[in-house]
């Protein structure tokens, strides 16, 4: 194993938590997410010659993971659809009311994200979960920045609408969010 390969391997280990989180968002299921992480790892190691020194390793790995995920949905190599973990599989942090409520709201958030169209979900995960800039996300997905902007806006607006607390909705005669959306 040469020094370059060793370095990249070390960096991969450092990036594992983030890659695993991206995989969890794409799959919404921890088992499939770990399969996707493994496939990404294997694919990256066998394509090291494609990695250009001096460019961003993390973006290259996120791109590989996205490609593997899209391919796995198109072929039937993996399960066609990622299936959500059952509620009982989710770790409950404790038995206090606050913790349980937090977990319930996390479950709802995950379900809403899982319900988004695939292309919107991918952009949302890169920007809002991984904290990438629009330019970085455009680089990972090899898309124009305008496409990133519009996909992200659609995803974020529909999530904001879905997460509007019922009490806020009830307080108003007209749905506030529709008013804003019509104001463009």
């Amino acid at each position: 194993m040469d020094q370059r390969t060793r370095d990249i391997h070390q960096q991969f280990v450092g990036l594992m938590p983030r890659l695993r989180r991206f995989a969890a968002g794409l799959c919404n299921n921890s088992h499939d997410a770990d399969d996707l992480l493994q496939s990404t790892y294997a694919r990256a190691l066998t394509r090291l010659q494609q990695w250009q020194d001096g460019t961003h390793l993390d973006r290259w790995l996120f791109r590989i993971m996205h490609t593997v995920h899209i391919n796995s949905r198109q072929t039937s190599h993996y399960r066609q659809q990622c299936v959500a973990d059952s509620e009982v599989d989710m770790q409950q942090g404790g038995d206090t009311r606050q913790e349980v409520e937090t977990w319930i709201s996390l479950q709802q958030t995950r379900r809403m994200i899982a319900g988004l169209p695939e292309e919107q979900k991918t952009v949302l995960l890169l920007v809002s979960v991984e904290g990438m800039s629009y330019k970085e996300a455009a680089d990972v997905l090899e898309l124009p920045i305008g496409t990133i902007t519009s996909r992200l806006a659609r995803a974020r607006i529909s999530l904001a609408k879905a997460m509007t607390p019922a009490s806020t909705k009830a307080q108003r005669n007209r749905p506030l969010l529709r008013k804003v959306a019509n104001g463009r």
Binding site: M1, T5, H9, Q10, V13, M16, P17, R18, R20, R21, A24, G25, S30, A33, D34, L37, Q38, Y41, A42, L45, T46, Q91, G93, G94, Q98, E99, E101, T102, W103, S105, L106, T109, R110, I113, L124, L125, V127, S128, V129, G131, Y134, T149, S150, L152, A153, R154, R156, I157, L159, A160, A162, M163, T164, P165, L176, L177, K179, A181, G183, R184
Partner: protein, 212 residues
């Protein structure tokens, strides 16, 4: 300039240049509906940002290298084991729940909330605290985590890790913060594990302040 969805979302993400940002801000100040929408976008974004953090915790899966690089396996196992020891898995889920509870429930406070400037500042602080906790928990020394909240952004970077005489894990860190238009501040600090398994910032001091 009409503020459409894309523009508003880009504003919340801090992606606008200073003139576009100022125009959008001027319209937000005049429009309670836009203020409400910005708050909703920030709340939902905060919930989304932590939705998959569970994947960051606990043991990472053991990865199998492809056959052509089979002799890596031993090294990878050793690296992951070291990494897990540092993470103290028994403690992580508790701090994880506390962090998520803090961030998600904290956002509820903003409903019908005070003026936009105060809201923005309070949101910035929560984002910084959340990013700091995550960076101290997961980043290797020298690797950087960026945070962004509205027009403010910056990074947090653990510098070195050590154990005190009484066995406490401590990490020195660097933190930058600034706005697209405004001053930039670089700070250093020291945080140590507290008895609850979280991180307590013991000291934070500015090293460089630059007016733009």
């Amino acid at each position: 300039m009409a503020v459409d969805d894309s523009l508003l979302v880009a504003y919340v993400d801090g992606e606008l240049d200073s003139s576009a940002c100022a125009e959008v801000e001027a319209q937000i100040v005049r429009s309670p509906e836009l203020q409400q929408m910005v708050n909703l976008l920030r709340q939902s974004t905060a919930a989304v940002s932590v939705a998959f953090d569970e994947a960051l915790y606990g043991p990472m899966p053991e990865l199998t290298p492809p056959a052509e690089v089979f002799h890596w396996r031993h090294n990878l196992g050793a690296t992951i084991t070291t990494w897990l020891l540092l993470l103290r898995p028994a403690v992580v889920p508790i701090s994880a729940v506390a962090l998520i509870a803090g961030v998600v429930l904290g956002r509820l406070w903003f409903l019908g909330a005070p003026p936009p400037a105060d809201v923005a500042q309070a949101v910035d602080q929560r984002v910084i605290t959340g990013t700091l906790t995550k960076a101290l928990e997961f980043n290797t020394s020298g690797s950087l985590s960026r945070w962004r909240s509205g027009v403010a952004s910056g990074f947090i970077k653990p510098l070195r890790t050590f154990v005190t005489k009484d066995g406490r894990f401590c990490r020195e860190f660097e933190q930058s913060s600034g706005k697209a238009q405004g001053s930039k501040l670089l700070e250093k600090g020291l945080a140590c594990r507290d008895s609850a398994g979280g991180w307590q910032v013991l000291v934070r001091y500015p090293v460089k302040s630059q007016a733009i």
